[in-house]
């Protein structure tokens, strides 16, 4: 497996997510953390997520969503994972890149 794990954090900027999606390869995984978990709420960002290559897996951290009162709201918008699954993804992907 040659996938790269991408961690997106630090701001709810659609530019940041767009840069990350444009740079990712088929099979890569993108985890939204921190303020970036607001991105699925944003119409323009959710369209970018929907338009991204379907071979890209885009997920958000459950705890970061819950802390922001978005736990239930997000379930319909994006796949949600816990911290343990983040570690499993880091094991499965031989390298990672951070976007912030």
């Amino acid at each position: 497996m040659t996938a790269t794990l991408h961690l997106v954090s630090g701001s709810a900027s659609t530019e940041l997510l767009a840069d990350c999606i444009a740079a990712a390869s088929k099979g890569d995984v993108i985890i939204l953390t921190g303020e970036a978990v607001y991105l699925p709420l944003l119409g323009v960002a959710s369209r970018a997520i929907a338009a991204a290559d379907t071979s890209l897996r885009i997920v958000a951290l459950a705890r970061d969503l819950d802390e922001r009162g978005m736990g239930t709201r997000a379930a319909a918008l994006i796949e949600v994972i816990d911290d343990h699954e983040m570690v499993r993804l880091a094991v499965a992907c031989p390298r990672s890149m951070s976007w912030y």
């Binding site: 961690l7 954090s9 630090g10 701001s11 953390t33 921190g34 705890r63 970061d64 911290d83 343990h84 983040m86 570690v87 499993r88 880091a90 094991v91 031989p94 390298r95 990672s96 890149m97 951070s98 976007w99 912030y100």
Partner: protein, 129 residues
């Protein structure tokens, strides 16, 4: 699997140090090793004993110290990042004639230690701002 972490974001203003700690704890629970944690740029402030911390809170320097004490993970803070932000060990504090502010369990280290971690770890995770 052997992990090292590079943490960049400020411990107060960003979730970087707390997220890195959550990752470290989950990795441990999944049977992995945290070899070295390198606090760089604003994250160097986690090593300040001036930083008010609360044992209950994740992501603070005391929570990191507890993690390191119980797992043997190395907590290193970049020397130039630290000095520039006033995190001083005894030697540098004496030279500047101000109080030392480096918290116990943290060590001041050069960037070569980060490079060594990159070369000897299976995975290096970066936690930005």
């Amino acid at each position: 699997m052997k992990f090292s972490l590079l943490v960049i974001g400020d411990p107060v203003a960003t979730p970087a140090c707390r997220l890195a700690l959550r990752f470290a704890r989950a990795a441990l629970a999944e049977g992995h090793e945290i070899y070295r944690v390198f606090f760089f740029s604003d994250a160097a402030r986690i090593a300040s004993r001036c930083l008010q911390t609360d044992l209950e809170l994740a992501g603070t320097s005391r929570a990191w110290e507890e993690f390191a004490d119980s797992t043997g993970a190395e907590l290193l803070t970049c020397v130039s990042s630290a000095y520039r932000r006033g995190i001083l060990d005894e030697q540098e504090a004496a030279a500047q004639q101000v109080p030392a502010t480096l918290a116990p369990s943290f060590e001041i280290a050069g960037l070569g230690q980060l490079a060594e971690a990159v070369l000897t770890s299976d995975r290096v995770m970066t936690f930005g701002r």
